[in-house]
Amino acid sequence: MGDSVQTAERAAPSPATATRINDFQMIVATINGTGSQTSNTAILRALFKMGIPVNGKNIFPSNIQGLPTWFTIRVSKDGYTARRETNEILVAMNPNTAVEDAQQLPSGGICLYDEVFVTDQRYRGFGFEESRDDISYHRLPIDALLKEVDVPKALQDRVRNMVYVGALAHLIGITLESLEEALIHHFKGKEKPVALNMNAIKAAHAWAQENLQTASPYRVEAMNETEGMILIDGNSAGALGAVYGGMTFLAWYPITPSTSLADAATAYANHLRVDENGRKNFAIVQAEDELAAIGMVLGAGWAGARAFTCTSGPGISLMSEFAGMAYFAEIPSVIWDVQRMGPSTGLPTRTSQGDLMSAYLLGHGDTHHVVLMPNDPKEAFEFGWRAFDLADELQTLVFVLSDLDLGMNQWMSDPFDYPDEPMKRGKVLSAEDLEERNGKWYRFVDEDGDGVGYRTLPGTEHWNAAYFARGTGHNKYAVYSERADDWVENLERLRRKFDTARTLVPKPIVHGKKGNPIGIIAYGTSDTAVLEARDYLAEAEIDTCYLRLRALPIEETTRAFIEEHERIYVVENNYDGQLANILRMELPEYATRFITMAHADGWPLTANWITETLKQHEAAQKN
């Protein structure tokens, strides 16, 4: 095509045969720190406002500015929200990755890109459009358009990305009204930034109408599938759940991808939980490290606060000793682990379900923890409040195991249900209770046979309220003891308590008809991909049942499900198949039924991978 830039687009020689409506995925490739988050979430919310099921995933580097970052948006008329491997539309804004990004498009795919890739001296020899001849190119004169809309110089970088929003809107049919609504949402109704960004979008849209004539094979059309739903990230949802769950204490240390959970909790609590005198009925402390964060949580939990911390894998490693302490000193406490890849640098900003085993068993000396595993924002909200109830009822540490995909990406969700039961504060004896008992109580005596003793809080005005909290080395009267029989008795009671936990944790969700030999077990964010994969498998005449595990320890429903199925595929986003191994350990009688289907590459699982892998296993089964 030479060096001349005459036309703004070049169509693929053989355009896709049919137009695909509301069923494709696009990817925006930008440079970290250029403010593309606003434009991408505007596209996402605009599609959502058009009633089209969407999901957005931000693939970002561990970096403040300069490294490549991608944002994928999937639209699905069928309501599928899992990641897809293929992106049909590319918005290429990063010259460093543009060629490789374009290589990922399928034949007939479309690419919008910044015209500097072919006009700027710096990219001479770049040969961007030469790299593929089976896709459509749409070249955007971003600098010229920005000049046209008269954006103040200081703000040019910020609205730059709105140019591709406007052009894309024209190409695939996003309405300007929905984009404006999205911007009003984003800027919380502030007129100035909305107008500024809208001007850029409109200018680009008008330019595209004029200059981009090739019809896009991928288009969106308004639907009515998001009515009454919300769009939110899991960290915000979990934080809101904690605030409605009566969180009174949060200590935390910054770590991606959990930081935004602490930020959201701070913002929501400051908004919702300040009394008429301006006093906060909660405390939030940014600790010096994760050890201190969990130490503070335990001190606060011991003193009667609804206390939690949020962290990620490296953080729970550091919290390990205190996790064991919480278990043996029986202190209500909650840890949100927003999982990522790890340790150290490399993939800290990529998602994973790699902490399940360590969270379940964290600590030394026969520790087991309750682990809640939300699959979407609605459940993140619910587990946000429920975790405190469970921690108080069971007087123990409760994990909520989220991940980067849920925590930091925007998900469609049903609105959250207001907690449907009063707060549970567990077995706490007040001064009056002690008076009624004539002062007779012992911290670790199993009065009710459920393994949970009664506790008192510091500050209880009764002569016999006090007890001494320690890790190991106490008898049932909370008196120091190194006697073997005391310790065995304690471990047995703790096991009883864990069995009580089985009856209290959220039950699994089961899909599918009975009498089917194939069962799938998955948890957390793998859910969306499994649900989609089951449809594809059914099309291939492989019927499956599916149990979504929502908590550990496992309970009767799970055991029954496993009993009913010959082959249980355990699908998870890690390498070792950690849940499969836990199930083998917990249910050795069924150990041979479990087939590990684990995959970890930093990305959320896809329905395609699940479908194909399961098909292969099933084919091998028949041979």
Binding site: G228, M229, I230, L231, I232, Y244, G245, G246, T248, F249, A251, R273, D275, G278, R279, K280, N281, F282, A283, V285, A287, E288, D289, L291, A292, G295, M296, V297, L298, G299, A300, G301, W302, A303, G304, A305, R306, E321, F322, P415, F416, Y418, P419, M423, T456, L457, P458, G459, T460, E461, H462, W463, A465, A466, F468, A469, R470, G471, V479, Y480
Partner: protein, 356 residues
């Protein structure tokens, strides 16, 4: 802006005062003659003399000989034997969760000066309201005599040989960490320990008491500056101190104090420390720079063996505590009702509409 009379909660009225034995704990399992036991008995004496309400005391510790001792005093108070070096974080959580509580933390030189140095410096920086006692003997006792980070350079013990590294001065560390109450004392000087404990309990912030507390098993020999013999003959008290609780009036004309070489420091709860200057020095404990200089001078004197200064080294009664700094309620968090803790159904509905 305190709306609750905390002193009324924390101290019993005359009519409800308890007996001395009500403040005792379990039988100590530390060595006979251990300095820690003498500190425990001073805590008991102070609680009895001040008429402390044990329901509002919490005792916390880390790991080590020192950290065992909370079991040996104030048996009617809640206790928490935490992890090695992590007592400060647990105390921070507990004291923040319930602002009515008075916390006494007991740590050692290993627990604070090595594994817990980070948490030590951050609790002083946050000025969490608590008494933080370091029972400092220069050695690890429970693991049988290794040097700690406060051991003197060049000192020798049977187990560990010769210590080639310089000691960390925990009072200097506390000052560098923005501590608002820093004192050093000697387990063999019960009167001073007692007065400092009383003042520390009234201090609205983190009160660091670095108490040299000889280890009779591993470090109570002639060449050790952490020995009884050394302490007795070399301690260098900065002041003669008197503690006057808030309800008692000082019967001396305040104007004469300076003339008589006396200084009065008023603490947050209205109690006062009267510091009578001794002829050896004229340290002003409200002067932070002077406090640092004093400790540095003491450290560099005597051919590398620090001068054993005792007494109140620094006090700033006015800096806000962590709970004050974060603007939280004075109500213990566990006393908040469900109505206060769970925002309304309407608020959630409104929030949901905003996300549609």
């Amino acid at each position: 802006m305190t709306t609750v009379d905390l002193n009324a909660l924390r101290f019993l009225p005359e009519s409800q005062r308890l007996d001395r034995q009500d403040y005792q704990g379990r039988q100590s399992t530390l060595c006979k003659g251990c300095g820690h036991n003498s500190i425990a008995s001073q805590i008991i004496a102070v609680a009895y003399e001040l008429g402390i309400n044990p329901s509002y005391i919490i005792k916390l510790s880390g790991i080590g000989c020192s950290s065992k001792s909370p079991a040996y005093f104030l048996g009617r108070s809640h206790g928490f034997n935490a992890l090695h070096g992590r007592m400060p974080s647990v105390a921070t959580g507990a004291v923040t969760a319930n602002r009515h509580l008075l916390a006494i933390g007991v740590s050692g030189d290993g627990d604070t000066g090595s594994i817990g140095m980070g948490q030590f410096k951050h609790i002083t920086r946050r000025n969490v309201r608590m008494v933080y006692i370091i029972e400092n003997n220069g050695v690890y006792g429970l693991t049988k005599g290794q040097f700690s980070a406060t051991a003197d350079m060049g000192q020798e013990t049977k187990y560990a040989g010769r210590n080639e590294l310089p000691p960390i001065d925990l009072c200097l560390e506390a000052l560098a960490g923005e501590a608002t109450f820093v004192a050093r004392s000697f387990a063999g000087a019960p009167k001073q320990v007692k007065t400092l404990l009383k003042a520390a309990l009234s201090h609205n912030g983190t009160a660091i008491l670095d108490i040299i507390s000889p280890c009779v098993a591993f470090n109570d020999h002639a060449s050790s500056t952490k020995s009884y013999a050394y302490g007795r003959s070399n301690q260098y008290p900065l002041q003669d101190m008197t503690f006057v609780p808030s309800e008692e009036e000082i019967m001396i004309n305040e104007e004469n104090y300076d003339a008589q070489g006396e200084q009065v420091v008023e603490l947050h709860d209205g109690s006062r420390i009267i510091l009578k200057k001794l002829d050896k020095g004229d340290h002003d404990p409200t002067d932070r720079e002077a406090a640092v200089r004093l400790l540095e001078d003491a450290r560099s004197s005597m051919n590398g063996v620090p001068k054993f200064i005792t007494g109140l080294i620094y006090v700033d009664p006015d800096r806000q505590t962590l709970s004050e700094a974060i603007g939280m309620t004075e109500t213990p968090l566990s006393h908040l009702s469900e109505e206060q803790l769970r925002p309304s159904r309407e608020s959630l509905e409104k929030m949901m509409k905003g996300l549609m």
